[in-house]
């Protein structure tokens, strides 16, 4: 039995939260963590001005989804995430895949894929 697990981190635009959550729900991902994050990629930020004073804002607010899933499901989930988070404009975000050593359910002490 394949017991390898992968953490999927997906940075995306806040406006796509509904689509992203819906896509994960449809695919059967039961739990998730959403972070409010700020950052930038190649796009950089933009100029804001207040009472004539100009500020360059380099870090833009985004959301980051974090889920841990069996390795065999990764491609299906990544495809769904791309569809859900994409607007086609710059700043649509990034997906990172990380290996997970183990998972432990705090309440019962269970380990491995069953604990996710």
């Amino acid at each position: 039995m394949d017991t390898n697990m992968t953490m999927i981190q997906c940075v995306f635009k806040g406006d796509r939260l509904y689509e992203v959550q819906k896509a994960m729900e449809d695919i059967g991902v039961v739990g998730m963590t959403i972070w409010e994050v700020k950052g930038h990629g190649r796009q950089k930020g933009h100029i804001e001005h207040y009472r004539g004073l100009v500020t360059t804002v380099n870090l833009l607010p985004k959301l980051m989804l974090e889920i841990v899933v069996p390795e065999k499901d990764v491609e299906e989930i990544v495809t769904a995430l791309i569809t859900a988070a994409r607007t086609g404009d710059i700043g649509d975000g990034k997906i990172f895949l990380l290996p997970v050593a183990d998972t432990i359910r705090v309440r019962t002490g269970e380990r491995g894929p069953e604990a996710v």
Partner: protein, 407 residues
């Protein structure tokens, strides 16, 4: 100074002071519109709401001074300053200020319906055209110098025994604003992500405290709206104040009862009662006003859900149900509860109220489809999808509501 002259001056000064008292109270309602909208939008559109309302106010001031007020009342202010004060302490100028506060409500109402997705210039331009022409045209028919709907000797009065009665603007101001907004909202279309694949997806408002503050400012200022509609000090009426209070209470309580104590509905319910009581506030018994307000609260709560969920009209603040539907109800209600048989003062005609209200809706919808239709076909009325996603604060004003939070 002899006594009769002194008395005349005191009466003139009292009239001017009375109107300015009302005008300043209504002026404060514009802060209410600003905060009601600022609280009812998402964080990325706060600055836009807070900038649109004063800009519309300033544009309305100029346009109503130059063309609007002259159209409605046939009075212009282009002579020498000394002549403008006249022998009555400048009553006409005070009257202009007072009625400007009414006229400027029009773009403030529309602003809440088209929020979060409309371009800035077209919003201001359309508001200017409505305040300069469409509103004064209908205002002139009811309150002004066109002898048609409102006057005791006009066409409606000769047809049905009494003219169209709208004491403080349920129809002239609120229904006009709400029905001017509706075509604009329809031509704009819903905000991105509001209705997706047939699902209704509520876009959360960002601040209930701002909504509460805005509503409180509107509630308090409303007493200038209704009471000062007497226009002169000797005609002031405590009945108008009591009716406004009871209608506000009725609208608030019916909203409490049918909305499961939903705070935003409760605040809007109070406003619904006030919108509906304007027209007949000098004609009805306070208990009738309570009923009119209570029905208005129900119309708003049910009407908002019907418009936004069933009809899929993305009216952000619910300005069409609040001002359009409750305003029309107020116009008709004055023709029901104004009759002596129902405890009212009389001198109203149900048919006149119905005709006047329908005429207002026809004028508003026509003017709005023409103005927004032309702007949409030429310059465009809606932000690009990228601008809308970024938010109108950054796209239009290059700044957000809480700059210190930026890193």
């Amino acid at each position: 100074m002899n006594a009769p002259t002194g008395l005349t001056e005191l009466v003139n000064a009292g009239n001017v002071f009375f109107l300015l008292w009302g005008a300043v109270l209504i002026f404060s309602m514009h802060a209410g519109f600003a905060f009601l909208e600022a609280g009812s939008v998402r964080k990325k559109n706060i600055v836009n709401a807070l900038t649109k309302i004063p800009t519309d106010w300033a544009v309305s001031t100029v346009v109503y001074f130059v063309v609007g007020f002259p159209i409605s009342y046939g009075i212009t202010f282009f002579g020498k300053a000394a002549g403008l004060i006249g022998q009555d302490s400048g009553y006409n100028l005070a009257h202009f200020f007072f009625l400007l506060c009414f006229a400027a409500v029009i773009p403030a109402i529309i602003s809440g319906g088209v929020a979060e997705r409309m371009k800035f210039g077209p919003q201001v331009l359309a508001g200017a055209i409505f305040v300069g022409f469409a509103y004064p045209f209908f205002e002139g028919l009811v309150w002004g110098h066109f002898n048609v709907l409102g006057s005791d000797t006009g066409w409606l009065a000769s047809a049905f025994g009494a003219g169209f009665h709208d004491y403080a603007g349920s129809v002239v101001v609120h229904a006009m604003g709400g029905w001017l907004a509706l075509p604009g909202i329809l031509l704009l279309g819903p905000r991105m992500g509001r209705y997706v694949n047939g699902d209704s997806r509520p876009l959360q408002i960002h601040s209930v405290p701002f909504v509460a503050l805005g509503s409180w400012l509107l509630m308090v200022g409303w007493f200038g709206f209704n009471v000062a509609s007497a226009a002169t000090l000797p005609t002031i009426s405590g009945l108008v104040a009591a009716n406004s209070l009871l209608a506000m209470g009725g609208g608030l309580l019916s909203a409490v009862l049918i909305s499961k104590r939903d705070s935003v509905f409760v605040y809007n319910g109070a406003l619904a009662g006030l919108v509906a009581v304007c027209a007949g506030s000098d004609k009805m018994h306070p208990l009738a006003a309570l009923a009119v307000g209570a029905i208005a609260g129900i119309i708003f709560v049910k009407g908002f859900l019907w418009a936004n969920e069933k009809l899929r009209i993305d009216d952000v603040l619910g300005v069409w149900p609040l001002h359009g539907l409750c305003g029309a109800w107020g116009g008709i209600a004055a023709g029901i509860f104004g009759y002596e048989a129902l405890g009212g003062i009389g001198g109203v005609s149900f048919m006149s109220q119905l005709v006047g209200t329908v005429a207002c809706i026809a004028v508003a919808v026509t003017a709005s489809f023409i103005v927004y239709g032309i702007i949409k076909a030429t310059y465009g009325i809606r932000l690009t999808p990228q601008e809308e996603m970024l938010g109108s604060d950054l796209a239009i004003h290059s700044g957000k509501a809480y700059p210190e939070e930026l890193i």
